[in-house]
């Protein structure tokens, strides 16, 4: 009887140790963000349905601040925002205006080459939270972008080398 009691304790200890290890182990749940294909593929996909869209540009600065500008309201200066909650609120307000005008809002996320990956993921999360179509513009080369490419990947992310932002910079 005493031996049986010892065994039960032994099993108890074994299970406690096992569950202890399970509890302290770092089980990391990861997911993935699909990145769109090459610029040409994205451009083909984006050629349709251009008219009923309004674009919001979210620039991510070198210090990972967000600068939001509405391309439908060019006279309004860009708004600088330091956190994700502020970005979400700004996007929500702008998309509400677009909704009233029966326009679909598309967010163009434009990270600075030196901005950190987390800032871009935060911006994408803000878009997903508001169920806004988004496109990651990766044409962040310092050298001049080739003329003519202005592909926009919607509902996905595009690795592209466009000149739309260069034109915008020129205009401003």
């Amino acid at each position: 009887m005493a031996r049986r009691g010892f065994l039960i304790r032994f099993i108890d200890i074994g299970l406690i140790v096992l569950f202890g290890f399970l509890m302290i182990s770092d089980i990391e749940a990861s997911s993935r963000v699909e990145l769109a294909g090459a610029p040409a593929e994205v451009e083909e996909a984006a050629e349709e349905e251009e008219d009923d869209r309004a674009y919001i540009v979210v620039e991510i600065t070198e210090s990972s601040y967000f600068r939001v500008s509405d391309l439908a309201a060019v006279d309004r200066p860009p708004v600088s925002i330091g956190d994700v909650d502020g970005l979400t609120q700004a996007l929500e307000a702008l998309s509400r205006v677009h909704d009233e005008q029966e326009l679909e809002t598309v967010v163009l996320i434009q990270p600075h080459p030196e901005s950190v990956v987390q800032a871009t993921v935060d911006a994408m999360d803000a878009c997903d939270r508001l169920e806004l179509a988004k496109s990651l513009r990766m044409d962040i080369e310092i050298e001049p972008a080739p003329v003519g490419d202005s592909a926009i990947g919607v509902d996905g992310l595009s690795a592209e080398s466009g000149s739309a932002d260069a034109e915008r910079r020129d205009a401003s």
Partner: protein, 131 residues
């Protein structure tokens, strides 16, 4: 008494199995601290062969299950091209594991390498619950 002997053996077998599994499991310590996302949905299983590319904050690429370092997009291109050749006819996908503090330029370079090779690519993020 016989019953007790059976239990002891049973416990022995279970412990041997447990430690066996622990010893053969590859517990891989990674130095990449992924960006956190609250909105990215849970992933679907992939049918393609996956080539992992880690990116450190200093721009070094980690390949071959983070056992090898390569520097620069050209070396990365050579590595992925060799992997594609090695995997033969199987469809290949590249999974980019960038540290959250990695500058975007290195991620863009890796994405361009994938585009050059015509490979689909995805950025891996750590799923986080909303605060």
């Amino acid at each position: 008494m016989q019953n007790s002997g059976f239990v002891v053996r049973f416990v022995d077998v279970v412990l041997i199995l447990l430690f066996g599994f622990i010893s053969i499991s590859s517990v891989q310590a990674t130095e990449i601290e992924l960006a956190e996302s609250t909105e990215t949905p849970a992933p679907l299983p992939e049918v393609e062969q996956v080539v992992f590319v880690g990116i450190r904050p200093d721009g070094t690429y980690l390949v071959d299950e983070e056992r090898r370092e390569v520097r620069g997009p050209n070396a990365l291109l050579q590595f992925i091209a060799a992997e594609v050749t090695r995997l033969g006819d199987s469809p290949v996908k590249v999974r980019i594991r960038a540290s959250r503090d990695t500058p975007m330029r290195y991620l863009v370079d890796a994405a361009r390498v994938c585009d050059q090779l015509g490979l689909p690519k995805a950025l891996e993020v750590q799923m986080a619950s909303e605060a």
